[in-house]
Structures are given as C-alpha cells and as structure tokens.
C-alpha cells in the first residue's frame, strides 16, 4: 500500500471518529464547527474529541503491535497482550501507582509501574507454561488464564483496601473496563512519541521473528541468539502493552484480531506485518472508541466491552480452527 492510501485511510478513520460522539453533527454542522473555531461545539470537537481520537489511534497501534510481536515470539496464533496476562499485569501496576502514595510524580510512576507489571506478568505466564510443559499453544493459554485471574483478584483487593477517595476508585474502575483517556496535547505528544519509539524498536525484531518461525534449531543455526532474542522481544512487547494500558485500560482482543487479519491481507513477513498491524489497530480503535461514545448517548459504553463483544467470537473461531489443525 502506498503512503497516499495510508494517509487517506488514516484521515477518513480519524474524521469519522471525531464525528462520532454523544451528539453526531450533520455534515453542515461539522463544516460550520470547523470554520468557526470559537463556538462551543467546535471547542468540544477540537480540544476534546480530536486529542482523544488520536490517543485512541496510539493505543490501538500499540495493541496491534504488541499482539503481532507476541504471536511472533510464541509462534502461537492465540497469543495476545490481554490473554497473556501482560495487560492485566500492567493494570495492577497502574492501580498500585494510582492508589499508593509514592515518592514519584504520577506521570512517571504510572508508566513505570504499568511496564513492570506487564513484564512481570508475561514472564510469569511464560515460566508457568514451560514448567507445566503442556503443548505450547494450550499451555500458554492456560497459564495466561490462571495468572489473569490472580491479577484481577489482586487488583480488586488493592482497590478495596487502598482507595479512600472515590475519584481514584473511578479512575481505576474505568481502567478495568477499558476506555481511552482524553489527554492534553502535551500528554498526547508523549503518548505519540512512545508509540513511535515502540514501533521503531519492534521493527528491529522483524527478521528475527521471521527466522524464529523456522524453528529454534534452524534459527540458532542461522545465527539468531534464540533465548536472548526471546527475552528482548517479550520485554519490548510488554513495554508497548504498558503504554497501551496506561492510556486505554484493559482493551481485549484488538491485539489478537488485527495481526491475524493483516497476515491474511499482507502475508506473514514481519517487516510488513508489524507496521500494518500497528496502523490497522490504530484505525480500528479510533472507530470503536467513536462507537463507544455514540451508541448509547449520553452514556459512554466502556471500550473494552465493545472490543470483547466483537473480538470474543473471533477468538472462538480461531480456537476452533486451531483445534482442527
């Protein structure tokens, strides 16, 4: 796909997402708002919806990217940040950062704790799956379910034990259900920078992931330091997941669905797959986040609920396909 087509797809999805909301303006009203930047509705669109839509793009891009890397690392079509426990781990880290008084600014503590949680949980899942020695695909999945259950309980416990002010309780709850935070422009810049950095670093894994698909023996024979590469890739994917969770909470299945569809469309070579998954994940989440605002006005449906409703059946479909193989 050419750059022009990509840009066009991005603009269409972004405009569509800005257009979607509790009140959906007619095309005329939208034009009026864009041309009269002082009016309240225009302020709503440009200062509130626009940064949120762009934040949704970054969160979706991180989820698509992390999903593609996780699937590549584990050579498992069912690997995904949410199912592997990384997202749950990040949420526990974030909960701790929000609820515990820390000697760190929250803007620093939140991503750091989320990253530590994501990485720790993923490593725990991988080690458990290895110890259990179950066949790779199902072992990872089972370990993921177990760790995710413990993490969810831990999060609820922390919530009950530590929250004294309703504000932080609400913040944490909205995290659990998934929802894009509306950032200020400077926060958005940080998020966009982290997303871009994640993409660049993950692209460095691309041909290593391709080689890994030939099996550990061939990969090692071709000069890939397999264990070291796996550790680095898991660390990176966990970091990218943490970025997504910090700004979007627990959004399930985007990291599962998007890389699959991109693989059908563009082939399995990771040099194309990784950027395609990031881009498509971003576009998808912009639209889904728009739908979350627009479906039941004035209430906002939690984003995680929408992605689970759409992604869950897809997951079952994949599971059935895997079982047949």
């Amino acid at each position: 796909m050419t750059a022009a087509k990509l840009a066009a797809a991005f603009v269409v999805c972004a405009l569509g997402a800005i257009w979607l909301g509790a009140d959906i303006p007619s095309p005329g009203a939208l034009l009026h708002a864009v041309t009269h930047p002082q009016e309240p509705f225009s302020v709503l669109l440009l200062s509130w919806r626009a940064p949120r839509v762009l934040a949704a793009f970054c969160v979706g891009a991180c989820l698509g990217l992390a999903g593609a890397v996780f699937q590549g690392v584990f050579r498992n079509p069912l690997a995904e940040p949410y199912l592997l426990g990384s997202a749950g781990g990040a949420a526990v880290g974030a909960t701790i950062a929000i609820l515990l008084p820390l000697p760190l600014a929250q803007a620093v503590a939140l991503p750091l704790f989320a990253f530590a949680g994501a990485w720790g949980a993923t490593i725990l899942v991988v080690l458990t799956a290895r110890l259990a020695g179950v066949g790779e695909a199902s072992g990872l999945l089972l370990a993921g379910i177990g760790v995710a259950a413990v993490l969810a309980a831990l999060r609820s416990l922390l919530l009950l034990a530590l929250s004294d002010e309703t504000v932080s309780l609400q913040v944490v709850l909205s995290w659990t259900l998934g929802g894009i935070q509306t950032p200020f422009w400077d926060e958005l810049a940080v998020l966009a920078g982290l997303t871009a950095a994640g993409l660049v670093l993950c692209l460095g894994l691309a041909s290593g992931l391709d080689v890994l698909g030939l099996g550990d023996a061939v990969a090692a024979n071709m000069g890939l330091p397999v264990e070291r590469f796996l550790r680095r890739a898991v660390l990176l994917a966990a970091a990218v997941t943490a970025v997504a969770v910090c700004w979007g909470g627990l959004v399930a299945f985007v990291g599962l669905v998007v890389p699959h569809v991109m693989r059908w469309r563009f082939g399995a070579a990771h040099r194309q797959l990784l950027p395609a998954s990031a881009f498509a994940g971003g576009c998808l989440l912009m639209l889904l986040d728009g739908a979350a605002r627009a479906l039941l006005p004035p209430a906002e449906i939690p984003l995680g609920l929408i992605t689970a409703l759409l992604g869950g059946p897809f997951f079952l479909l994949l599971l059935a396909r895997e079982a047949r193989r």
């Binding site: 391709d210 099996g215 061939v218 071709m222």
Partner: protein, 256 residues
C-alpha cells in the same frame, strides 16, 4: 589428503536415560560429498544436529574447519555451517522468495541495522537448478512436498556455506528430482563440504565420495563409498543380505 572440514571426538548425547550418541567419532575431509547412512534409530539425525552445533553434546567436541567451538563466534559459525533439518517447515507462511532472502541473511544478524544491507539479489543459478523460478512468489504452505523440499534446500545453500549438513533432503522427492538434487549437491561439493543423511543406499553409491555408516550411536565405518558399501558389516548392521551388482559399471545394492 585434503584438510578436515569437520571432526567429532567422542560425542555423547543422552536423552532421558538413553544414550543416543555414545563415543561418536568422525572426520570429514573438505570438499567432499559424504553420505551418512544407517538403520532407523542409529542416531544419524542427532549426530547431524550435534555436528551443526544445534544440539550441545553431553560430552565430546566438534571442530569446524580445524577450529574448536570456542574459536568461533555465533555469526561466523552460522555463515560457515548450514543445517537443513529433516522436516523443514516455516510457522509463518512466507513466500519462497522471502525464505530464500532469509537464507541469504544467514549469519549476518537479524537486527535493525543488519536488515538494511540484507537485500541480496536472488541466486539465479541456484533457483534455476532447483526449478524454483516459477514458484518464487508462491507461499511455502501452498507448495507440494517436493517443491517445499527444494525451496528449503535453496534456503539452506543460498549463502554458500563452507559446510552443509542436510538431513534426508531427498526423502520427499520423486526419482527425477532426487537425482537432480543429488547432482546439485555433487556440484556444490566443489567448494562446500556436504554431509547428507540418506536412506537410499544406491543414491549414496552413485553420488557420494565417502560414506559414514552409523549404528547404535557410533560411527561404525567411514571411508570411500565403494569400500564401505562392499563391506559385509553393512549387511550385518542393516540386518539384510545385499546382492552387489554392477549396473552400467556402477555399484548397485539389491536386498536379497
């Protein structure tokens, strides 16, 4: 006597309680086509994996081009020694061209900076010899077993390794393609040392310079093809009486 490309001393590989290899010694001279033969379960695949440094032996050592494992870094060893497993498959459904490009990047590293100079022109002579030109854009999984075997062989040899260790690359090929692949290996042996596991003793008889006969985790006999195949130990190890015929002046083994 040409210098040795590969040496193994007292290799021992234990899996569970069973020693798959036990005191496996071998010395392979440079630029030869060497067939590794032996009955099922003799340890041929494990021996090949140990020679490829894919499997670390529990005891013993391997030397490549006269140098110990300690004298090699990961990348130069990867460039020098190419290993083609028996059941080569790619988890990712890559195209033949993508697979061959990966093979060309062997030993060059797979990071960000390494990828930038990885675009290598396809080796036309190789793809032609393996009849892959028409298949380059096809996905690996859509190929027939024989086409897959040829694509995998191209991937393993495109980087011109000094040593090629191939585990039954001809097993899923029809007779014509078997002969063509063996002839290609014969030609490769001009500047590559090829060790190939074969089940078809007559392919070994026709193409190999030397034969390594593996039985019960040991190298039982090694030497010039005719000498080994004429030996009566062969009959004993394969538990088969062979009739040794001469077909068009070539040794042909027929089980009695």
């Amino acid at each position: 006597m040409s210098p040795l490309a590969l040496e193994a001393d007292g290799l021992r590989v234990v899996r569970g309680r069973r020693a798959i290899l036990d005191g496996f010694d071998v010395a392979v001279p440079s630029h030869r086509l060497v067939a590794m033969i032996g009955p099922n379960g003799a340890g041929k695949t494990t021996a090949l994996r140990a020679l490829a440094a894919v499997e670390a032996p529990d005891a013993g050592r391997v030397r490549w081009l006269g140098r110990d494992a300690a004298a090699w870094d990961r990348r130069s060893l990867a460039r020098a020694v190419s290993y083609l497993p028996q059941q080569f498959r790619s988890h990712w459904d890559l195209s033949v061209a993508e697979l061959i490009a990966l093979g060309a990047a062997r030993g060059r590293g797979f990071g960000w900076l390494d990828g930038l100079h990885a675009s290598v022109a396809p080796d036309l002579a190789l793809t032609q010899a393996l009849e892959l030109e028409a298949l380059m854009t096809r996905r690996f999984a859509s190929l027939s077993a024989g086409e897959q075997a040829r694509a995998a062989f191209a991937m393993a040899t495109v980087s011109h390794p000094a040593i090629l260790l191939a585990d039954e690359p001809a097993a899923s090929l029809d007779v014509a393609h078997q002969l063509r692949l063996m002839a290609l290996m014969r030609r490769l042996a001009g500047d590559t040392t090829v060790v190939v596991v074969l089940h078809d003793l007559n392919l070994a008889a026709r193409f190999a310079d030397e034969v390594i006969l593996v039985a019960a985790g040991k190298c039982r006999l090694a030497g010039p093809t005719e000498t080994i195949l004429e030996s009566l130990e062969l009959d004993e190890i394969f538990e088969t009486r062979f009739e040794r015929l001469s077909v068009n002046g070539r040794l042909h083994l027929a089980p009695r």
